[in-house]
Each structure stands twice: as C-alpha cells, then as structure tokens.
C-alpha cells in the first residue's frame, strides 16, 4: 500500500532520514520504533507531504506521491495525527470533526449554503466522536478538553478524513495508563478498516498492536519484521530495545 524507496532528508548538515526503504501492506498495523532523534517524526512528515523529500520515492497505492502537496495526499486517502496535539482549539469537538469530514466530502468552494444545513457532515462527525469516546463531549470547546481527550480528538481528526492509511505519530504521548488503554483499544478497533503506520514509544502498546515492526536508528531502518523477530534481533536489542526493555 505504501512504499518508501531510498527516502532521505537533510536539515543543513544533519541527516534526519537516510535512505529509508520500507513497505506498509494493506490491513496491517506497522509500528515504527527507535530512539529519540532517530528521524521518526521527520519520516512521518515526509510521507504526509509537509517536508520535502530530496531523494528517494514515496509510492502510495501504486502512484508516485513524492512531489504531491499534503492536501492532495489526504485526498488520496493518507491522513496523519501529530505528536504534539494540533487541533482547532476554539472550535467545538463536533465542529473539529465535521470540518475534517467536510474536507473529504466534495468541494468546499461553496459560499452561500450554511454548513449547518448539511446533516450528513454532522452525522458522520458524531459517529467518529462515538468511536473515539467523545460522544458526551461534542459541544465542548476543544481547548477545554482534558489531555487524554485532546489526544483522542487528534486521532479522530485523522480518522474523520476517511483515510485508507493513517499515520499516527505517538498517539499516546503524555498519557496516563488509563488513557493509554483506551487509545490501544481505539487503534485495535480502527485496524479493521484502516491500515496504520504507528510511531510509538510505549513498547507495551507496540507489541500488542503491531503485525510488523520497523526499527529506525540514526535515520536508517536497521530491521523490519514480526514482533517476535524484532524482540530477538541482537542488533535491535543493542541499538534500542535493550535500554527500553530494561527500563
């Protein structure tokens, strides 16, 4: 479904991603793990189209999207969530989600008809709110939500664009154990209809959710495989997992 071929990115002299080759197949949860500064978020940015890719190619559903702008990639079915919560803070939960639904349902170059007359948008937004556990909070202004709720909305915005592949950048960042469990359940449920590329530091979550795991160290993929394989890989243990598992 998604193929990265020799993708690289430099910031000045710093190599952020270095010749990354990776394949995400339809229907899987593919986890991307690695130490801080390994280039995970940079890679997500490149796939989403926010960061330019200087060399290498990104192929999505057979089409080369390397040079496509971010909004065109969403139209093709590729959505992302952010590590640092990025929502429409002064909009209500429902308006946040309805806006994301609107982005994928026909043109928005309509200037006269009130959005509120479009029942379908808000019905879909309510359905997403239910999925992410915010049914009772739809009228709350996003800025007033608790941290865990904001994280759920963050993922909900990506889901509301009806993607085929969703890039989740540390969905559990800063969450307590209870919220983390809810997020794991949410990802487990969404995998039934969406392919997931999951960047996450919570190893418990990664090993519970992932079908396959790729390990990124210093901008390079040092291993890709099933969770059991990755757990046993001596190079991965030395480079990354050792410290994490010991902790």
């Amino acid at each position: 479904m998604l193929e990265l071929r020799g993708v690289s990115k430099r910031f000045g002299g710093v190599v952020a991603t270095d010749d990354v080759t990776l394949e995400v197949t339809r229907g899987e949860v593919h986890a991307l793990i690695g130490p801080n500064g390994a280039g995970k978020t940079t890679l997500i940015g490149q796939i989403a189209g926010v960061l330019a890719t200087e060399s290498g190619r990104i192929i999505f559903n057979g089409a080369d999207i390397t040079r496509q702008p971010a909004h065109a990639r969403v139209a093709a079915g590729l959505a992302r969530s952010y590590q640092i919560t990025s929502i429409f803070r002064r909009f209500s939960v429902l308006d946040n989600l309805a806006l994301a639904v609107q982005a994928r349902s026909g043109t928005s170059f309509h200037f006269w008809r009130p959005v509120l007359a479009e029942r379908a948008l808000f019905d879909q937004a309510r359905a997403i709110a239910g999925e992410i556990g915010l049914s009772t909070r739809i009228d709350a202004v996003a800025a007033t939500l608790a941290h865990g709720e904001q994280r759920a909305l963050e993922v909900g915005l990506a889901l509301a664009t009806q993607p085929q592949l969703v890039l989740l950048d540390e969905p559990m960042a800063g969450m307590g154990p209870e919220d983390s469990q809810a997020m794991i359940a949410l990802i487990a449920k969404m995998r039934e209809r969406v392919t997931v590329l999951l960047v996450e530091h919570d190893m418990d979550a990664v090993f519970r959710l992932a079908n396959r795991i790729s390990v990124l160290v210093n901008g390079r993929v040092i291993a890709t495989g099933a969770p059991a394989q990755i757990r046993a890989d001596p190079e991965v243990r030395r480079a990354y997992l050792g410290e994490e598992l010991a902790a």
Partner: protein, 317 residues
C-alpha cells in the same frame, strides 16, 4: 432581528434629518456607510481569514480611480463602471495575493503594504488623471433612471449596498468556505493536514475582499465626485485597519461599528469646540489625530475584542 432593527433606524435617519432641515448629516452618514463597506471587506481577510493585510487601500482607492477615470473618459453608467471597478480590484487582489500569500507574518504585512504603496505612487505620477491633485469627476455615476446626484437617493443606494454586503458576508462565513477560512486562521498546518489546499482558500478570500473593497471605492469616488490619491495611501489602509480593530475583529458588524465610531469621533473633535480644553490648548482641534488616538487607546484598552464585544456576541469560531 437586531440587524433588521438597525437597518430600520438607518432607513428612517435621513427622513428625520430632512425634517430637521439638516441634510449635511445625510451626506456624512453616506460617507460612514461607505467606509463601513470598506472596513467590512477588510474584516473578511483580517478578521475571518486571519491574514493581516496592510494594503487594503490598493483595492479601495483602486476602485475609486477606476470609476473616476471612466467618468472622465465619458463612461458614467453605474451598471458598467462599478462592476469594472470590482473586477479590477479583484484582479489586483489576485495578483497581490498570489505573491503575498507565499509569505507569512511580518513579511506578509510588509509585502501587502509595499504593493499598495507602489500603486499609490503610480497614480500620483499619472498627471493626466490628476496626479497629486486628484481627479475631479463630472458628477456622480448615472443609473439610467432617477439621479444619484440627490443626497437622499444616494444615501439609500449606499445603504442597500451595505445591507447586501453584510448579508453576503453573513452567508459566506457560515458556508463551507467560511468554515475552512476560519479553520485556516485557527490552525493552518492542521487545515492542510486534513486535506484543504490552504493557499487556494486564502487567495480566494483575499480576492473576494479585494472585490468588495473595490466596490466601496467606486462608492467613495461618487460620494464627492472627487478621487484623491490619498485613498490609495498606506494611511488609508491603516485607517481601515483601525476601524476593524475598533469595531471587532472577525465580527459581522465590526467594520460598521468601527467606521461609525472613528469617523464620528473625528467629526466631533473637529466641529465641536470644548471651551475648557480650548483654553488650555487653543489649537487642539488642528491636532484631532492626537485626541482620536487617545480615545481609541481607551476604547481598545477597555474592549480588547472591539466594541462589538460589548454587545455580548460571541466571536465566530
């Protein structure tokens, strides 16, 4: 409902003034309403779109010059000249916006300012159309029936146009397009990330505002049948911006309230001599700007969300 009440009052106003034999205020009120249209158009980009354009005078003054030049050349029909003014202003907004919207923040402010100043200097040096002295028109535009030369008729024409502009704005900000514009103002990166081509939406918003600004310009040229290059000057952009901030950024009535308060203040200070103040500073009325500044400062300090914040309306999210 409140809007209808306001427009009813505005509709009765000239009749009252006529009964009091005080037609000066009808003409003054037309001027306020025209500025209200201009400030409202700026509020669309500045308030709803979050684009701090410091060059709105380009569209306002541009529209005025289009109507002025056409009138001098013999084309005086409002049905033709005004749409041309709108189209030219919108086209200018398309060019200026297409280049300026590639920048952000202070750079956007400076680039829009620079474009507007370039246009100002072009018209100042156009000696055949008045240059520094401005352009005297042979009279107001013609409608084909009645005459716009009558100040009462003129007032009602302007009032109808303001009503239409406000209604269209109201529809626009609650439409799909309006929601996207508001979302981009709130969080541009996320708006792009959920699939909106941000640049196109911002540019179109800029063009619509430019077109309405051009319409206001067409009206201001007719107000006194005279087009001054000062309409294009950056001070004009600043004045419109002050009106928007004063009235309420991103509120439907912000431009109207701001125009009324600012122009009303200027008029009060210039026309009514306060005896005790005149004793202290005999020529204080020559420096109305200072007094206006102090009053503005006070209002903005007391009402950081603009005067419409006093009316308890929530900002449009």
């Amino acid at each position: 409902m409140r809007a209808i009440a306001v427009f009813l009052l505005l509709a009765i106003f000239p009749l009252v003034m006529q009964a009091m034999d005080n037609l000066f205020y009808v003409s003054f009120a037309s001027r306020v309403l025209i500025y209200a249209i201009a400030a409202t158009s700026l509020n669309l980009v500045l308030g709803y779109g979050g684009m701090v354009s410091f060059g709105h005078a380009a569209f306002f003054g541009g529209g005025a010059f289009v109507v002025g030049i056409l009138a001098v050349e013999g084309l005086r029909s409002a049905w033709i000249a005004w749409p041309i003014a709108i189209a030219v202003a919108a086209l200018a907004a398309l060019v200026i916006g297409a280049l300026s919207l590639r920048t952000r923040g202070v750079y956007f402010i400076m680039i829009t300012l620079a474009f507007a100043q370039m246009i100002y200097y072009i018209f100042v040096s156009l000696k055949s159309y008045g240059g520094d002295d401005g352009l005297q028109m042979p009279g107001r535009s013609t409608l084909g029936f009645g005459t716009l030369g009558n100040d009462l008729v003129w007032y009602y024409v302007v009032l109808c146009i303001l009503a239409a502009v406000l209604y269209a704005m109201h529809r626009l900000v609650h439409s799909r397009f309006g929601r996207v514009i508001a979302a981009i103002r709130e969080n541009e990166a996320r708006a792009e990330a959920i699939g909106f081509p941000v640049y196109r939406y911002q540019l179109l918003c800029f063009v619509i505002a430019g077109g309405i600004g051009g319409l206001a310009g067409a009206l201001i040229a007719n107000q006194s049948s005279y087009v001054s290059p000062s309409l294009l000057h950056w001070i004009q952009s600043g004045t419109l911006m002050i009106m928007v901030i004063l009235g309420g950024v991103g509120t439907l009535w912000g431009g109207v309230i701001g125009a009324a308060v600012l122009l009303g203040l200027e008029h009060l200070i210039a026309d009514y001599r306060i005896a005790w103040l005149a004793k202290l500073a005999p020529n204080y009325q020559d420096h109305a700007g200072l007094a206006v500044g102090i009053v503005l400062l006070t209002i903005v300090m007391l009402a950081p969300e603009g005067i419409s914040g006093f009316f308890g309306r929530r900002r449009h999210a």
